[in-house]
Amino acid sequence: MALVIPKETYSGKIYNVQLGAGAKAVTIGGASALPFLAFEGAFPNKPAVALEIMDIAPDDWPETVKKAVGGAGASPAKWAKFCQDNGADMVALRLMGTHPDQQNKSAEEAAKVAAEVAAAVDIPLIILGSGHAEKDTQVLQAAAAATRGKNCAIGKAVEENYKTVAAAAMANDHKLIAMSQLDVNLAKQLNILLTQMGFAKERIIMDPMSSALGYGLEYTYSVIERIRQAALLQNDPMMQTPVMCDIGANVWKVKEVMAPDADVPEWGGLEDRALAWEVITASGMLTAGADMLIMRHPGAAGKIKELIAELMG
């Protein structure tokens, strides 16, 4: 019995979304088959790895990742440059200092930092609010205006604030990151709402809500797999936006990346364990179909780029 390679017939394709400008611009998406199945589809772009920086020093990040960032964490612009020099495809600036429970920095302060960071690097920039839906509307409006022309990804637009955040991205020619709560239908719904207000679906990047290894990774994994199947096999245009995963923010708060060796001898050494936690979480999201990852540990990002190269062949 000869083997006939059982190929899928795909009717859909993921949109190509370009971020940044000039020679260092990066395009994500474009896949016409399920992840890394090059025998039945094309993958014009490799998944991109962004390293995360903040507008404040990473004082509450766990020791392992803080050490890896080193002195660069003291200034956002220096930190951004450090990421670029460490091989990041993009820089993701999280404006955590604007959160009312953090330093409650103003939108103007945030905009200034965003402009400084944009000037410091020539790789694409992702600009994220602090996750406070209400405050983010002002912060992201100001940051989007301050980086006009840089073709950034602005986010995250969520159910509570998507109109204002999308308007800020639209007015300043940026792309948009839209985050929904770990559900295929909610992800689609948010894309529909954005499209209905006139935001081009080809300019959206979908964040289905990441989770860390051991902390619900399987939910994100299956949601992404189902989004990708709807996009490619059912040709659903509302599911064909590239997928991004916020890896570092979810990983660097779990016990496995913080517990000292002495507390959990059965878990092995903290340094290796913490790095592996971010790497394996990222591997999971890539395998499910993520097109863009935001990571924190430069060493972990470097290993994941090695895996991406191996997966792309």
């Binding site: 059982p6 992840p35 051991g214 994994y221 299956s222 394996i280 395998t287 290993k303 895996l307």
Partner: protein, 446 residues
């Protein structure tokens, strides 16, 4: 793939004799297709029909057990390509490779690492389940000595015997035939000799070939030699080849019922660098490898890989649950705050994580709601004021604390009034709706 009623009907006697208890052969065929009847009920079924229908009823990927006793591991017997379609059934078996050139100290260390590999995660015991003895020296006596070291040092642990040389395998299997080892591997060159050993010793046999066409041919040949329990290695070592080849194997077996590839897959993601090896192994866990042989099994690496395996093999229909209990977070004292959430593992993990982040020592009451999240459990009537009151009253938490204040999730603020009625003397405080609001909430109180 299951046969349709009409396809089954073609193989029946078509006499409508009713001896099976059904009015016609077609009606019987429909019942067979729906798996509501057994072919045994037909006294006139031909040998041909039994063979065809028996094969169609067999699982698309054969289930294979390696090892004997309570530590035997089952692999294969999978029925879907994506975990959300149903679930992945038999978790990937992790094995550590011990080369026969590592006899003595190095082998002893790895054996010890396997024996102490067990971790407890969300109530499950996870461990490295097998040891692969690798013929590196080409010396049968040397190989046998390491097999003996493994058998003596880690009795009960499943064994994989790896050599392309039948004489070496013979020497090794003589020491562990009662353990139902997996032989790795038969190739086009040694297939007859390996098949003979596997048959004699009732061992399962892995097939190693370069690419899927060669593997298909080898699979048919070895099956023809009378070995049923096979394992496949198409030669993929790079991550890209693993994803592609394992996907094709799984698809051919499940969607096309292609029997020559309907067996579990064994992967060798070995790398010099341990993180690189972990990454390649993670691809195997997600993309259909049933057995993964690793060069090294450091504790940090196995924690990550076993956690990934647990995540991927969790039943998507049955939420992971943690045990109902009052959990102590940090150095909680009698005046520390008491919060309640449901026993959906994700709710528990996230709430606990945020409480830990707050660095405010606390008591976390986790109530059994059959693994539903707070809002779902509330909507399903399982997280109601009377149930919460009963749980708190019976939990004995009052012995650990010197106050009577319970913090409930913001999403069920509506329960606070009734809860105060049902828990006389208690103050009910409404906490934040989302767990990420806990650090500021707790810090503001402290």
């Amino acid at each position: 793939m299951a046969l349709s009623g009409v396809e089954i009907f073609k193989h029946l006697p078509k006499t409508n004799c009713k001896k099976c208890g059904h009015p016609t052969c077609l009606a019987f065929a429909m019942k067979l297709a729906a798996k509501q009847a057994s072919l045994d009920a037909c006294p006139d079924a031909s040998e041909d029909a039994k063979k065809v229908l028996g094969e169609a009823a067999a699982p698309p990927i054969r289930g294979i057990t390696i090892g004997a006793g309570d530590k035997a591991v089952k692999t294969g017997d999978e029925i879907c390509l994506f975990r959300h379609e149903k679930k992945f059934f038999n978790p990937t078996v992790f094995a550590v490779a011990i080369k026969d050139t590592e006899a003595g100290e190095a082998a002893a260390r790895k054996i010890e690492a396997v024996k102490t590999s067990e971790i407890d995660r969300v109530g499950q015991k996870l461990r490295v389940d097998a040891i692969a003895v690798i013929d590196e020296s080409g010396d049968a006596a040397k190989f046998a000595s390491v097999v003996k070291q493994v058998v003596d040092g880690a009795p009960g642990v499943a064994i994989i015997l790896a050599s392309k040389n039948p004489a070496v395998i013979e020497a090794g299997i003589a020491l562990c035939a009662d353990k139902k080892p997996l032989i790795y591997a038969a190739t086009a060159e040694n297939a007859e000799a390996m098949a003979k050993i596997a048959k004699e010793k009732k061992a399962s046999l892995a097939l190693s070939a370069d690419g899927l066409d060669a593997l298909t041919a080898l699979s048919e040949k070895v099956k023809g030699l009378g070995v049923d329990d096979l394992v496949l290695d198409p030669g993929a070592r790079k991550a890209k080849d693993m994803v592609e080849q394992y996907t094709i194997i799984r698809r051919a077996a499940i969607k096309k019922n292609f029997k020559p590839l309907g067996y579990p897959v064994i992967a060798f993601p070995g790398r010099g660098d341990s993180v690189s090896e972990a990454m390649a192994a993670s691809i195997g866990v997600m993309k259909y490898a049933s057995i993964i042989v690793l060069n090294t099994i450091e504790k940090w690496k196995m924690l990550a890989l076993l956690s990934l395996r647990q995540n991927i093999y969790t039943d998507p229909q049955v939420p992971m649950q943690v045990a109902q209990n009052i959990y102590k977070v940090g150095d909680a004292k009698e005046n520390s705050p008491l919060m309640i959430t449901t026993n959906f593992s994700l709710s528990y993990f996230i709430v606990r994580g945020e409480v830990e982040n707050s660095k405010v020592p606390s008591w976390l009451a986790v109530m059994d709601n059959e693994g539903l999240s707070v809002l779902t459990a509330w909507a399903a009537g399982k997280f109601t004021a009377s149930r919460i009151a009963q749980f708190i009253a019976e939990s004995g938490v009052e012995k650990s604390i010197n106050h009577k204040e319970l913090i409930i999730p913001g999403y069920v603020a509506i329960l606070s009034g009734t809860l105060e009625e049902k828990l006389p003397g208690w103050k009910i405080t409404v906490g934040p709706r989302e767990a990420n609001g806990l650090p500021s909430f707790l810090k503001a109180r402290a």
